[in-house]
Subunit: 245 residues, 3 copies
């Protein structure tokens, strides 16, 4: 059962965050809100997202799994203006999701969730953590896109760096520890990542969002942030590329 | 003979309205203004437009037919800013249309009107009429574009509905009679239309324009509205698709 | 040696002006500023540009030649906001240009200038000169683009005209001498030019820039203007098309 109302801005943010990883996703509903876990088709990136029921204008649900095509939600969202309230309901008889906004009712077929298992989110104990504004990381990503298809991310007690090079060109974003919101580091760590994955993950966050990043040497990177006024939280994991040396 | 001045906004609106149906059109000029009738190449849609001489800044003409390529007028309009006054003249000797704006003079070859006959606009006596704001219809059209390539339009004494479905997905815009500007209905009627034609007709009207719609069961739809501060009026006719059942 | 700071707006303007002619260019640095001369691959158009050291926020250089890929500078500029200060340095050991903005450092390989000779800028003594606002010329160019791929430019003591025709269509921008900033003419001259070259030259100037134009009959056209608050000056030369008659 699902019977809820949500601000279109919140739903749009959710769709952007998850849509960087997958087009189809299983959403797990409970009394307290929703959770979803998804891994991209190449098994390189993962998202784990919670949205508390307080993020909704009204929310009533019991334990249910909904198989959602995010592209359809994205199209529906274009029918709403910023801040419009969207009504959502699960029509269990026909197994369709019913959404309503501005005199428009759309019914969408749900996907069969039988074959959709929740991926295991590995619990990683990464040696270094820092907090940084989204706009800085986004700047570093944009700069790297001019140069190469991968980036290295380095952090140590003195700061944080995104680096990219190809042939004789290179670009570096350097943030000293004073330009970070917080850093907790005892050593220097460095990993290499595919730029397209990393880029699409950070392009959906707003410039002022604080990213909570955890890093190791040649380990996955963990990027966490909140949305929906703190009622939603996201955890991205991205596997490292192994450096050919 | 034609010697007139017109606000670029009015001419732009005229070109958009007629350009959804045809690229080339015969315009019939008289002392009192202009009229044109055009049917699309597939004979599915028709436009009948009048523009009174009061819509012009200045207007002098006698009975003349001008064969116009609307694409050329559209390009010329890009040389003018919103609200610029455009001078138009018929150079009868060279059979060219002379247009002037912002120190620019363009002379365009006119089309031979010998083979361009005015289509007969059928007089239809449709059982149901209603008035609705353009933005509502536009919203219904945008929603339907996510689903299918045709729509059904239904009206009855209680309201008005645009409906579209394909496989297990469906979308509906429903307007109760209180959300309409006016409705005059004794029965329920329903017709099916090709979405692309319907969509291009309503996409050129502004959100606040009141559309005067007449409908029958499996009959053409008639959509009327005014423009140019009431000095212009438009009538679109769109043939129904026959439902395969 | 180069060690300078420049407003991103000024650097952006320089890249647009030169980028209409070439992608790669040799920049000649001296104590007083920079100069560059470039001719397009088809040898039809030429640019000669000076930027005085006063156009920089800070500037220190000695006689050096830098082989620059303008596309890379263009990409780097996208990392800066309007008005950001960009630091530039020549790393002589690695022969790379180092640029910095907003915590980002980019190092770009420089091109070998051995094969890049400065083109000879012909000294032309053209019989007619006039000054006109960029927006007028831009309007004439936009109008001509609807008609043909070449334009004729005519000037005489009474004014200035850009004219284009093809088949039965024609367009003309006419400016009387009162609509020009200045004109110095004793005779009528007229030349024909390729529209694409002429168009890209004037599209990079702002509407209020005063263009100083010199013309002859079937001679190259010279277009001069200043930028960077008068600390930069540009001279374009464009060869005429010979009219087939």
């Amino acid at each position: 059962m699902l019977n809820a109302e949500i601000n279109s801005n919140v739903l749009k943010e959710l769709v952007e965050i998850v849509g960087t990883i997958v087009d189809e996703v299983k959403i797990n509903l409970s009394e307290d809100g929703l959770n979803l876990k998804a891994v991209d088709p190449a098994h390189v990136a993962m998202v784990d997202l919670n949205l508390n029921k307080d993020a909704f204008e009204s929310y009533e649900a019991d334990e249910t799994e909904l198989g959602i095509n995010l592209k359809k939600i994205e199209q529906f969202l274009k029918l709403s203006g910023a801040g419009d309230i969207i009504r959502m309901e699960h029509d269990e008889e026909e197994n369709r999701l019913v959404m309503e906004v501005n005199n428009i009712t759309q019914k969408m077929a749900l996907l069969d969730t039988a074959g959709m298992t929740d991926p295991n989110v590995p619990s990683l104990d990464l040696p270094l953590s820092l907090k940084v504004k989204g706009k800085h990381v986004l700047n570093g990503v944009k700069a790297s896109e001019n140069i190469s298809d991968h980036i290295s991310i380095t952090a140590n007690p003195d700061g944080f760096e995104i680096f990219s090079e190809e042939d004789e060109d290179m670009v570096r974003l350097s943030l000293g520890k004073d330009e970070l919101e917080e850093i907790d580091a005892n050593e220097e760590v460095r990993s290499l990542f595919a730029l397209d994955y990393f880029s699409s993950m950070v392009k959906c966050v707003s410039s002022d969002t604080i990213l909570d990043i955890e890093l190791g040497a040649d380990y996955p990177i963990k990027i966490q942030f909140t949305f929906a006024d703190g009622n939603g939280d996201v955890r991205y994991l991205l596997a490292p590329r192994i450096e050919s040396t």
